[in-house]
């Protein structure tokens, strides 16, 4: 019996029970659609985070004050970590050859005003290097000038939203804004960027880091971003930075994180989440399999006489097994294809509703869902098919 004849015979049998076949097929379709859609969501979340990170820049080393590890020391006895100062940043830039660029960052919240128009925004103290290290773009004007880091300058760069809100219908370039008690000239406007790691980069004001520290009345930086020359040097550079600061402070009180470490941590967490979602969705496929088994059992008992006849005309046990198994697999694989279609539609709807989410199912999930749907048919079709092959031909012909 050729495979084509086998499939033809099975398809013929299924067409006799459209509703029953359709419903069990739908069960598989929903399972497969769930696998595809949920993994697309998980994968979308992962890609979203990864793209957020890579927008900040690659080969990035982030130095933050404080030790994140929780080893040793009584609570309260370790004390507040030493400040991470501009001088520290300067020392890193000068002392470690692997570092290409360093961008010290100070951060706080301040009120920015143009006359009576006020706005509470994130105040970022930065240097000229930030433009490149954080991959910022300018819509208009220019970024902070190259200065000695400890020298201030009464200039500022606004985020697009800040600029729009403070200067509606006007050109902010060359105008003066008040930040706290300070008067700063607007020299540039950032290109639109949107939310980035919790900071709305459209609603910020950037001033030279020396000015920012004075405005915020602080001596410690928020963090120092370091751009390493080569990706291979990243870990080595990280260790050197920590050693240098430890030397300067007399204790290890900073943490240096590579961009890769953060990225892979997020990526693996979200990857695990995707797997978990796929697993949950796979359960619905198993339920669909039980539906197929049920339908096939009914089919076998309805067609007892037919099985008897097939035996009488010389069909072997293997052939009868294959014929019924083919029916189950036909239901499940057609369900799988329909499920892919449903999943595709669901993902398109998702992407239409959340355009920022790059939701698309990973290839492994699509293949696994299809393979699983075929396997479900084969697995849950075996029991009914074996029941058919074991029928005694004489009894089967009599309908017993």
């Amino acid at each position: 019996m050729s495979p084509r004849d086998l499939v033809g015979f099975a398809a013929r049998a299924l067409r006799g029970h459209r509703l029953r076949t359709g419903l069990s097929l739908l069960g598989v379709a929903i399972g497969v659609a769930a696998v595809v859609t949920l993994t697309a969501l998980g994968e979308g979340a992962r890609r979203y985070v990864v793209s957020q990170f890579s927008q900040i820049g690659t080969n990035l080393l982030i130095v933050v004050p404080g030790k994140t590890e929780t080893t040793g020391g009584m609570p309260g006895m370790g004390g507040v970590p030493n400040d991470l100062t501009l001088a520290d940043a300067e020392a890193i830039r000068r002392g470690i050859p692997e570092i290409d660029k360093a961008a010290p960052i100070a951060m706080g919240t301040e009120t920015v005003a143009n006359g009576e128009r006020r706005r509470q925004v994130a105040l970022i103290g930065a240097t000229h290097e930030m433009l490149e290290v954080r991959r910022l773009s300018l819509a208009r004007g220019r970024f902070l000038p190259e200065l000695e880091w400890d020298r201030g300058s009464p200039v500022s760069v606004l985020g697009t939203k800040t600029a729009r809100e403070l200067f509606p219908g006007e050109d902010p370039l060359g105008r003066v804004v008040r930040i706290g008690d300070w008067r700063m000239r607007v020299i540039g406007i950032l290109g639109p960027r949107g939310q980035q790691l919790g900071v709305d980069m459209d609603d910020v004001v950037i001033v030279p880091v020396a000015n920012a520290l004075r405005m915020l009345n602080r001596s410690s930086l928020f963090r120092v971003l370091l751009q390493v020359r080569a990706h291979a040097d990243l870990v080595q550079a990280r260790d050197k930075v920590v050693r240098l600061i430890t030397e300067r402070h007399g204790e290890e009180d900073v943490t240096a994180i590579t961009q890769d470490a953060v990225l892979s941590a997020f990526s693996s967490i979200l990857g695990a989440l995707t797997m978990a979602l796929a697993g949950i969705a796979a359960i619905s496929l198993a339920v669909a399999g039980i539906g197929i088994m049920n339908v096939m059992l009914v089919s076998v008992s309805e067609r007892t006489r037919e099985v008897g006849l097939l035996k009488a005309v010389g069909a072997g046990r293997g052939q009868i097994l294959l014929a019924f198994l083919a029916e189950a697999i036909l239901i499940s694989s057609a369900g799988g294809l329909l499920g892919l279609l449903l999943g595709w539609v669901a993902i398109r709807v998702l992407v239409a509703v959340y355009p920022d989410l790059p939701a698309s199912p990973p290839v492994w999930a699509v293949l696994a869902a299809l393979a699983l749907s075929v396997a479900v048919g084969a697995l849950f079709g075996v029991l009914p098919a074996r029941r058919a092959t074991r029928l005694d031909p004489v009894a089967a012909l009599a309908g017993r």
């Binding site: 019996m1 004849d5 006849l309 009488a312 005309v313 010389g314 046990r317 012909l397």
Partner: protein, 241 residues
């Protein structure tokens, strides 16, 4: 052709053994036309099933075309059924979702014959039973006689050596029954061995030899011209049921 020796078959019904066949010994030559008669429960269908390799005897030996069938496994038996034996049943046993043509093709499907040849041979058989114009009809669109003729075409499409017919006219009106018997006899005339199980004397009378079973035993064998009178005596001139 067929040699049965000391065949017995016992069923368990409600914990009680029922002896369907007891020590049946019979020889059937190629090309014979035999009727197996007997009242309900006499074991005639069981005998037919054993001859057709659908059932196995508990005792005795069965040789089909010089081969001991008793030792064959399930796979070998299905090949014997496929190539040596054609079945015709009282209730036709056509597959309801398939057309007449597809029903006739069914044995060839499992024998792995290619579709074009399948179609051609099935069409030829339908023509032989006068149903070519009905090829695309499904069983529920055919009369009883037509259904049995389709079943006949199916039984012979793989050129078997023996046709086993279990009450082939039992569900037909007299005219259709006569037509079906006529076709069976035509096939017999062309060399096919024909074994008919019936309790209808009118059917049995047409055979060249009649084997009468009672309670699983062969109680008489009659041949040729004596069939008529023997049947009269056996059934008391009436129908068995």
């Amino acid at each position: 052709m067929i040699r049965l020796e000391g065949i017995s078959r016992t069923f368990e019904v409600g914990g009680e053994p029922v002896h369907a066949l007891v020590d049946v010994t019979e020889q059937i030559a190629a090309g014979e036309h035999i009727a197996i008669m007997g009242p309900s429960g006499s074991g005639k269908s069981t005998l037919l099933h054993i001859i057709g390799c659908l059932d196995r005897p508990d005792g005795g030996t069965y040789e089909l075309m010089g081969r001991d069938v008793g030792g064959l496994d399930e796979a070998a038996l299905s090949l014997v059924r496929r190539h040596t034996i054609g079945f015709v049943f009282q209730f036709f046993h056509l597959v309801p979702r398939l057309t007449a043509l597809e029903n006739v093709e069914l044995p060839m499907l499992f024998a792995g014959i290619e579709p074009p040849e399948r179609r051609e041979r099935a069409m030829g058989r339908l023509r032989a039973v006068g149903l070519e114009p009905r090829a695309s009809h499904r069983p529920d669109q055919l009369s009883g006689g037509e259904r049995q003729r389709v079943a006949l075409a199916r039984a012979t499409v793989l050129d078997p050596k023996v046709v086993l017919a279990d009450e082939p006219t039992g569900n037909l009106d007299t005219a259709s029954g006569r037509q079906v018997l006529g076709l069976l006899e035509e096939m017999n005339a062309s060399g096919l061995t024909l074994i008919v199980v019936t309790h209808d004397p009118a059917v049995a009378r047409r055979a060249r030899r009649v084997v009468v079973l009672m309670d699983g035993r062969v109680v008489s064998r009659v041949e040729g011209s004596r069939i008529h009178e023997a049947l009269e005596a056996l059934t008391g001139g009436g129908n068995g049921r």
